[in-house]
Symmetry: C2
Subunit: 147 residues, 2 copies
Protein backbone atom coordinates (compact mmCIF):
# COMPACT_ATOMS: atom_id res chain seq x y z
CA UNK A 1 0.00 0.00 0.00
CA UNK A 2 1.38 3.41 -0.93
CA UNK A 3 0.10 6.95 -0.99
CA UNK A 4 -1.52 9.14 1.65
CA UNK A 5 -2.79 7.34 4.70
CA UNK A 6 -0.65 4.26 4.23
CA UNK A 7 1.10 4.87 7.53
CA UNK A 8 -2.14 5.14 9.45
CA UNK A 9 -4.03 2.21 8.00
CA UNK A 10 -2.98 -1.20 9.30
CA UNK A 11 -2.12 -3.88 6.75
CA UNK A 12 -3.59 -7.00 8.31
CA UNK A 13 -2.07 -10.42 7.70
CA UNK A 14 -4.13 -13.48 8.61
CA UNK A 15 -3.00 -17.06 9.16
CA UNK A 16 -4.19 -20.30 10.75
CA UNK A 17 -2.72 -23.26 12.58
CA UNK A 18 -2.76 -25.59 15.55
CA UNK A 19 0.62 -24.56 16.98
CA UNK A 20 0.87 -27.61 19.22
CA UNK A 21 4.11 -27.62 21.28
CA UNK A 22 5.34 -24.29 19.94
CA UNK A 23 8.69 -24.73 18.20
CA UNK A 24 11.18 -22.48 16.47
CA UNK A 25 9.67 -23.21 13.04
CA UNK A 26 6.37 -21.71 14.22
CA UNK A 27 8.19 -18.64 15.54
CA UNK A 28 10.08 -18.07 12.28
CA UNK A 29 6.91 -18.53 10.22
CA UNK A 30 4.87 -16.11 12.35
CA UNK A 31 7.62 -13.47 12.21
CA UNK A 32 7.83 -13.74 8.42
CA UNK A 33 4.06 -13.44 8.16
CA UNK A 34 4.06 -10.40 10.45
CA UNK A 35 6.69 -8.81 8.22
CA UNK A 36 4.21 -8.92 5.31
CA UNK A 37 2.06 -6.32 7.04
CA UNK A 38 1.59 -4.25 10.19
CA UNK A 39 -0.77 -6.50 12.13
CA UNK A 40 -0.92 -10.29 12.40
CA UNK A 41 -4.10 -12.13 13.41
CA UNK A 42 -3.92 -15.89 13.94
CA UNK A 43 -6.73 -18.43 13.84
CA UNK A 44 -5.96 -21.24 16.29
CA UNK A 45 -7.62 -24.55 15.46
CA UNK A 46 -9.88 -25.62 18.31
CA UNK A 47 -9.66 -29.12 19.78
CA UNK A 48 -13.14 -29.87 18.42
CA UNK A 49 -12.18 -28.75 14.89
CA UNK A 50 -9.02 -30.86 15.04
CA UNK A 51 -11.09 -33.84 16.17
CA UNK A 52 -13.14 -33.61 12.95
CA UNK A 53 -9.81 -34.01 11.11
CA UNK A 54 -8.83 -37.00 13.25
CA UNK A 55 -6.09 -34.88 14.80
CA UNK A 56 -5.31 -34.53 18.50
CA UNK A 57 -3.00 -31.93 19.99
CA UNK A 58 -1.00 -32.46 23.15
CA UNK A 59 -1.71 -28.92 24.36
CA UNK A 60 -5.38 -27.89 24.67
CA UNK A 61 -6.79 -24.98 22.67
CA UNK A 62 -6.99 -22.54 25.59
CA UNK A 63 -3.27 -22.94 26.32
CA UNK A 64 -2.24 -22.84 22.65
CA UNK A 65 -4.18 -19.59 22.21
CA UNK A 66 -2.46 -18.00 25.22
CA UNK A 67 1.02 -19.10 24.11
CA UNK A 68 0.67 -17.95 20.48
CA UNK A 69 -1.01 -14.72 21.63
CA UNK A 70 1.98 -14.04 23.90
CA UNK A 71 4.38 -13.82 20.95
CA UNK A 72 5.53 -10.33 20.08
CA UNK A 73 4.79 -10.92 16.39
CA UNK A 74 1.14 -11.81 17.06
CA UNK A 75 -1.43 -9.06 17.57
CA UNK A 76 -4.58 -11.13 18.03
CA UNK A 77 -5.71 -14.75 18.14
CA UNK A 78 -9.15 -16.17 17.48
CA UNK A 79 -10.64 -19.70 17.31
CA UNK A 80 -10.69 -21.62 14.03
CA UNK A 81 -13.72 -23.83 14.36
CA UNK A 82 -14.48 -24.90 10.76
CA UNK A 83 -13.12 -24.82 7.20
CA UNK A 84 -15.81 -22.43 5.99
CA UNK A 85 -14.99 -19.43 8.19
CA UNK A 86 -11.96 -18.15 6.28
CA UNK A 87 -13.76 -15.86 3.83
CA UNK A 88 -15.71 -14.36 6.72
CA UNK A 89 -12.51 -13.89 8.75
CA UNK A 90 -10.66 -12.20 5.87
CA UNK A 91 -13.54 -9.76 5.51
CA UNK A 92 -14.14 -9.02 9.19
CA UNK A 93 -10.43 -8.43 9.87
CA UNK A 94 -10.01 -6.51 6.61
CA UNK A 95 -7.03 -8.76 5.85
CA UNK A 96 -4.80 -7.64 2.99
CA UNK A 97 -2.79 -10.88 3.06
CA UNK A 98 -3.70 -14.51 3.75
CA UNK A 99 -0.45 -16.38 4.45
CA UNK A 100 0.30 -19.98 5.34
CA UNK A 101 3.03 -22.62 4.94
CA UNK A 102 3.65 -23.98 1.45
CA UNK A 103 2.57 -27.46 2.52
CA UNK A 104 -0.83 -25.87 1.81
CA UNK A 105 0.17 -24.53 -1.64
CA UNK A 106 -2.87 -24.01 -3.85
CA UNK A 107 -5.44 -24.86 -1.18
CA UNK A 108 -6.53 -21.31 -0.51
CA UNK A 109 -6.29 -19.71 -3.95
CA UNK A 110 -10.07 -19.27 -3.82
CA UNK A 111 -9.52 -16.41 -1.36
CA UNK A 112 -7.53 -14.40 -3.90
CA UNK A 113 -10.59 -12.39 -4.92
CA UNK A 114 -10.55 -10.95 -1.38
CA UNK A 115 -6.85 -10.56 -0.59
CA UNK A 116 -3.32 -11.56 -1.56
CA UNK A 117 -2.71 -15.27 -0.88
CA UNK A 118 0.89 -16.29 -0.12
CA UNK A 119 2.42 -19.67 0.66
CA UNK A 120 5.68 -19.40 2.59
CA UNK A 121 8.37 -22.09 2.54
CA UNK A 122 8.51 -23.96 5.82
CA UNK A 123 11.73 -24.29 7.76
CA UNK A 124 12.72 -27.86 6.83
CA UNK A 125 12.26 -30.40 9.59
CA UNK A 126 13.16 -27.86 12.25
CA UNK A 127 11.66 -29.79 15.10
CA UNK A 128 13.45 -33.06 14.59
CA UNK A 129 16.06 -31.86 17.06
CA UNK A 130 13.33 -32.13 19.69
CA UNK A 131 13.29 -35.86 19.26
CA UNK A 132 15.71 -37.94 21.22
CA UNK A 133 14.49 -41.48 21.23
CA UNK A 134 11.29 -42.00 23.15
CA UNK A 135 9.76 -39.15 25.08
CA UNK A 136 8.97 -39.68 28.74
CA UNK A 137 5.63 -37.96 29.50
CA UNK A 138 7.14 -36.75 32.78
CA UNK A 139 9.45 -34.56 30.68
CA UNK A 140 6.42 -32.47 29.75
CA UNK A 141 5.70 -31.56 33.38
CA UNK A 142 7.29 -28.45 34.86
CA UNK A 143 10.03 -29.55 37.23
CA UNK A 144 11.78 -27.62 39.96
CA UNK A 145 15.39 -27.03 39.00
CA UNK A 146 18.10 -28.84 40.88
CA UNK A 147 19.83 -26.31 43.14
CA UNK B 1 10.68 4.11 41.70
CA UNK B 2 9.07 7.54 41.95
CA UNK B 3 10.13 11.12 41.39
CA UNK B 4 11.74 12.87 38.44
CA UNK B 5 13.23 10.62 35.80
CA UNK B 6 11.24 7.55 36.81
CA UNK B 7 9.53 7.43 33.42
CA UNK B 8 12.79 7.56 31.54
CA UNK B 9 14.85 5.04 33.46
CA UNK B 10 14.05 1.40 32.78
CA UNK B 11 13.34 -0.83 35.76
CA UNK B 12 15.02 -4.08 34.77
CA UNK B 13 13.71 -7.43 35.99
CA UNK B 14 15.96 -10.47 35.60
CA UNK B 15 15.05 -14.16 35.70
CA UNK B 16 16.43 -17.55 34.70
CA UNK B 17 15.15 -20.86 33.42
CA UNK B 18 15.36 -23.68 30.90
CA UNK B 19 11.93 -23.13 29.32
CA UNK B 20 11.86 -26.52 27.64
CA UNK B 21 8.65 -27.09 25.65
CA UNK B 22 7.21 -23.65 26.39
CA UNK B 23 3.90 -23.98 28.20
CA UNK B 24 1.26 -21.62 29.51
CA UNK B 25 2.79 -21.65 33.01
CA UNK B 26 6.00 -20.18 31.57
CA UNK B 27 4.01 -17.51 29.74
CA UNK B 28 2.08 -16.49 32.87
CA UNK B 29 5.25 -16.39 34.96
CA UNK B 30 7.14 -14.25 32.43
CA UNK B 31 4.24 -11.81 32.13
CA UNK B 32 4.03 -11.41 35.90
CA UNK B 33 7.79 -10.85 36.09
CA UNK B 34 7.61 -8.26 33.30
CA UNK B 35 4.87 -6.46 35.23
CA UNK B 36 7.33 -5.92 38.10
CA UNK B 37 9.33 -3.52 35.91
CA UNK B 38 9.70 -2.02 32.47
CA UNK B 39 12.21 -4.44 30.93
CA UNK B 40 12.58 -8.21 31.34
CA UNK B 41 15.86 -10.00 30.65
CA UNK B 42 15.92 -13.79 30.78
CA UNK B 43 18.88 -16.11 31.31
CA UNK B 44 18.28 -19.34 29.39
CA UNK B 45 20.14 -22.36 30.78
CA UNK B 46 22.47 -23.77 28.15
CA UNK B 47 22.48 -27.47 27.32
CA UNK B 48 25.98 -27.78 28.78
CA UNK B 49 24.94 -26.11 32.04
CA UNK B 50 21.91 -28.40 32.28
CA UNK B 51 24.17 -31.40 31.69
CA UNK B 52 26.18 -30.48 34.80
CA UNK B 53 22.89 -30.75 36.70
CA UNK B 54 22.09 -34.12 35.12
CA UNK B 55 19.23 -32.48 33.25
CA UNK B 56 18.44 -32.83 29.54
CA UNK B 57 16.00 -30.67 27.63
CA UNK B 58 14.04 -31.86 24.62
CA UNK B 59 14.54 -28.56 22.80
CA UNK B 60 18.14 -27.38 22.30
CA UNK B 61 19.38 -24.09 23.77
CA UNK B 62 19.44 -22.21 20.45
CA UNK B 63 15.76 -22.92 19.83
CA UNK B 64 14.71 -22.25 23.43
CA UNK B 65 16.45 -18.87 23.29
CA UNK B 66 14.65 -17.93 20.05
CA UNK B 67 11.25 -19.03 21.35
CA UNK B 68 11.49 -17.24 24.73
CA UNK B 69 12.98 -14.17 23.01
CA UNK B 70 9.97 -14.08 20.68
CA UNK B 71 7.55 -13.49 23.56
CA UNK B 72 6.18 -9.99 23.81
CA UNK B 73 6.95 -9.87 27.54
CA UNK B 74 10.64 -10.62 27.02
CA UNK B 75 13.05 -7.87 26.02
CA UNK B 76 16.32 -9.80 25.93
CA UNK B 77 17.65 -13.30 26.45
CA UNK B 78 21.18 -14.38 27.32
CA UNK B 79 22.86 -17.73 28.09
CA UNK B 80 23.00 -19.02 31.66
CA UNK B 81 26.18 -21.09 31.71
CA UNK B 82 26.99 -21.46 35.44
CA UNK B 83 25.60 -20.83 38.92
CA UNK B 84 28.12 -18.12 39.71
CA UNK B 85 27.15 -15.60 37.01
CA UNK B 86 24.04 -14.19 38.67
CA UNK B 87 25.69 -11.40 40.68
CA UNK B 88 27.56 -10.31 37.56
CA UNK B 89 24.35 -10.39 35.49
CA UNK B 90 22.38 -8.34 38.03
CA UNK B 91 25.11 -5.71 37.97
CA UNK B 92 25.68 -5.60 34.20
CA UNK B 93 21.94 -5.36 33.45
CA UNK B 94 21.38 -2.92 36.33
CA UNK B 95 18.54 -5.17 37.48
CA UNK B 96 16.23 -3.71 40.11
CA UNK B 97 14.44 -7.02 40.62
CA UNK B 98 15.56 -10.65 40.56
CA UNK B 99 12.43 -12.80 40.23
CA UNK B 100 11.90 -16.56 39.99
CA UNK B 101 9.34 -19.25 40.87
CA UNK B 102 8.78 -20.01 44.54
CA UNK B 103 10.07 -23.55 44.08
CA UNK B 104 13.38 -21.64 44.48
CA UNK B 105 12.28 -19.79 47.65
CA UNK B 106 15.26 -18.72 49.73
CA UNK B 107 17.89 -19.87 47.24
CA UNK B 108 18.78 -16.42 45.93
CA UNK B 109 18.42 -14.27 49.04
CA UNK B 110 22.17 -13.64 48.82
CA UNK B 111 21.46 -11.29 45.90
CA UNK B 112 19.33 -8.98 48.07
CA UNK B 113 22.25 -6.64 48.70
CA UNK B 114 22.15 -5.85 44.97
CA UNK B 115 18.42 -5.83 44.12
CA UNK B 116 14.97 -6.85 45.29
CA UNK B 117 14.59 -10.65 45.28
CA UNK B 118 11.07 -12.01 44.70
CA UNK B 119 9.74 -15.57 44.55
CA UNK B 120 6.49 -15.82 42.62
CA UNK B 121 3.96 -18.62 43.17
CA UNK B 122 3.94 -21.05 40.27
CA UNK B 123 0.74 -21.88 38.43
CA UNK B 124 -0.06 -25.27 39.97
CA UNK B 125 0.55 -28.21 37.68
CA UNK B 126 -0.47 -26.22 34.64
CA UNK B 127 1.14 -28.54 32.17
CA UNK B 128 -0.47 -31.78 33.24
CA UNK B 129 -3.14 -31.16 30.62
CA UNK B 130 -0.38 -31.73 28.06
CA UNK B 131 -0.13 -35.32 29.12
CA UNK B 132 -2.47 -37.82 27.57
CA UNK B 133 -1.13 -41.26 28.20
CA UNK B 134 2.10 -41.98 26.40
CA UNK B 135 3.54 -39.44 23.98
CA UNK B 136 4.38 -40.57 20.47
CA UNK B 137 7.64 -38.86 19.43
CA UNK B 138 6.09 -38.34 15.98
CA UNK B 139 3.67 -35.93 17.64
CA UNK B 140 6.55 -33.55 18.18
CA UNK B 141 7.24 -33.27 14.45
CA UNK B 142 5.49 -30.56 12.46
CA UNK B 143 2.86 -32.17 10.28
CA UNK B 144 1.00 -30.81 7.29
CA UNK B 145 -2.63 -30.31 8.16
CA UNK B 146 -5.22 -32.59 6.61
CA UNK B 147 -7.13 -30.60 3.98
Amino acid sequence: MTGPGSRLQPRVVITYGTFDLLHVGHVHMLRRLRDLGTRLVVGISTDEFNATKGKTSLVPYADRAIIVGALGAVDEVFPETCWEQKRYDVIRYGAAVFGIGDDWAGHFDHLSDLCRVVYLPRTPDISSTMIRGSIDPADLLPRPRVP
